[in-house]
């Protein structure tokens, strides 16, 4: 099964025969994981970076640049009870706690944000499997064989009507295709 998934990935497996693989990947968690992993391996081998180099450092630097709004702290500072303590040392301790506690949370929030963003990018990557840029390299074989000539009765009338509804030619307002039935 994994071999077939690999072959499918490399366009060495006929799409018509791949239905069981598709079904397998939809129901079987392991198969879909293999599919994702092979894509990830492919991406790495092609050097298509999901994230820019130093993504984490850049993101952290940007987060550092952001002004940190510590609203809970402000609320705390405005709460007179905390600072009405007679004991000097206790006051300092409370202040320290008041400033430290939210900072920990902000770090945790930043980490969570990094994880969420990273996860989304990764999901997107796995979901799309290929960026347009890579497709140009992957060069999916296009139909080059001469297509058969279609008979007049085989012409897709429903599409002709859709075409004339959105992009009418000057005569299509008055003359309808012979195959169009009123």
């Amino acid at each position: 099964m994994t071999e077939q998934i690999s072959a499918l990935l490399d366009d060495e497996f006929a799409l018509e025969d791949a239905e069981h693989l598709m079904a397998g990947m939809q129901t079987n968690g392991y198969s879909s994981e293999v599919w994702s992993q092979y894509h990830l391996i492919g991406d790495v081998m092609r050097g298509a970076n999901a994230l820019s180099p130093n993504f984490k450092q850049n993101l952290m630097a940007l987060i550092d640049l952001e002004p940190t709004v510590l609203s809970p702290n402000a609320a705390w500072a405005n709460d007179p009870k905390l600072f009405d303590e007679k004991d000097e040392s206790n006051d300092v301790a409370v202040k320290k706690q008041a400033t430290n506690f939210p900072r920990i949370w902000s770090v945790a929030a930043s980490c969570a944000a990094v994880m969420v963003v990273g996860w989304m990018v990764l999901q997107n990557q796995v979901g799309n499997q290929a960026t347009p840029n890579m497709v140009a390299h992957a060069a999916i074989p296009q139909e080059t064989v001469l297509l058969p000539v279609t008979n007049e009765q085989d012409v897709p009338v429903e599409y002709l009507m859709a075409h004339q509804a959105s992009a009418p030619s000057a005569s299509s307002y008055y003359i309808q295709s012979a195959s169009y039935t009123e």
Partner: protein
């Protein structure tokens, strides 16, 4: 030596002058066409024209009125079923008799004769050259012939007869590469009108028939940021002018519909996933003035059609690249 330099200067001056004269003549031709593009919207006129396409031919009565701000037009088919097209600005309402009913269809209107040219001709200039022909009489009026000749084989050629006084297009004919007429629309009688009343701007109501709105043909904006296809190397001169999701008769899911235009001709591209159990369609044909091309790209069924040469629909179909 001085004589040689002088001769060179004179020669270059002359050739420059020749070029500018040629350019001026070219500009003049395009100006006639530009005037025709505007005249169709900005004049008030009425008449009868005959529309011919393939084996069919229909006469249409037209009345067009411009009050300085808004355009109103009523077109009534005189042959066959009495279909009526009422337009106000770009909004069309078509009263289409079908069996015992009259179906009311709403559309966005464009290039209705004689307003077949876009008001902005710069896109047309990219792909066509313009030649002047003889003066001929059409619908009892004197007309200047203009040939709009494509620069490549990706589009048909057009011939316009333009009223030398009003500037209105009196006749428009499309030819294929073998110079065979693909379709033709021509006034048989036309005159300008001065009246300002709008009493005529209403459909002729048939009390014996039921009037029904057509079954909704919903189109919606197509916002999918990462569809499983992309367009690569579109044929020269064709630009995407619209993209939507459209419900197509007999299709379980909405189909992506992309419209391309070179300023005169329009091409539609339809993309949908290959459906299980339905044999994918692939082939090409020309019926009347419309070329069709179907192919399968990856998991996608691609259908392209338009009033253009087969090479163009094939090129647009082949510009679709499947993205996994």
């Amino acid at each position: 030596m001085r004589g040689f330099v002088l001769a060179c200067l004179v020669a270059s001056g002359l050739s420059g002058a020749c070029q500018s004269v040629l350019a001026a003549a070219d500009d003049e031709k395009w100006q006639i066409l530009q005037k025709a593009a505007l005249a169709a919207h900005a004049l008030s006129y009425q008449g009868i024209f005959v529309c011919q396409s393939g084996q069919q031919s229909k006469s249409v009565q037209i009345k067009h009125f411009f009050d300085g701000q808004n355009e109103y037009a009523r077109n009534v088919l005189l042959d066959g079923s009495p279909r009526e097209v009422l337009s106000q600005g770009g909004d069309l309402i078509i009263y289409n008799p079908k069996n015992e009913k009259i179906v009311i269809e709403k559309r966005r209107g464009q290039n209705m004769f004689p307003a077949v040219l876009p008001v902005n001709l710069s896109i047309v200039k990219q792909s066509y050259t313009l030649r002047t022909g003889d003066i001929e009489r059409v619908a009892g009026r004197e007309a200047q012939i203009l040939f709009l000749v494509p620069k490549d084989n990706l589009r048909y050629s057009y011939r316009f007869w333009i009223d030398t006084e009003y500037g209105l297009i009196l006749k428009s004919v499309m030819f294929n590469g073998r110079n065979e007429m693909m379709d033709s629309i021509s006034f048989t009688q036309v005159n300008l009108v001065n009246s300002v009343d709008l009493d005529w701007f209403k459909p002729q109501i048939d009390n014996k028939k039921n009037y029904v709105m057509e079954d909704e043909v919903p189109t919606q904006a197509d916002f999918n940021p990462s569809p499983h296809w992309m367009l690569k190397d579109l044929p020269a001169g064709y630009y995407k002018v619209d993209q939507m999701l459209r419900v197509v008769q007999g299709k379980p899911l909405p189909v992506t519909h992309v419209v391309f235009s070179d300023g005169l001709a329009s091409v539609s591209l339809f993309i949908e996933p290959v459906t299980n159990g339905i044999k994918p369609r692939s082939g090409h044909s020309v019926v009347g003035n419309t070329s069709f091309y179907s192919s399968v790209v990856g998991y996608l069924q691609v259908t392209v059609l338009g009033e253009v040469p087969e090479a163009t629909v094939a090129a647009i179909a082949n510009s679709v690249v499947f993205v996994k």
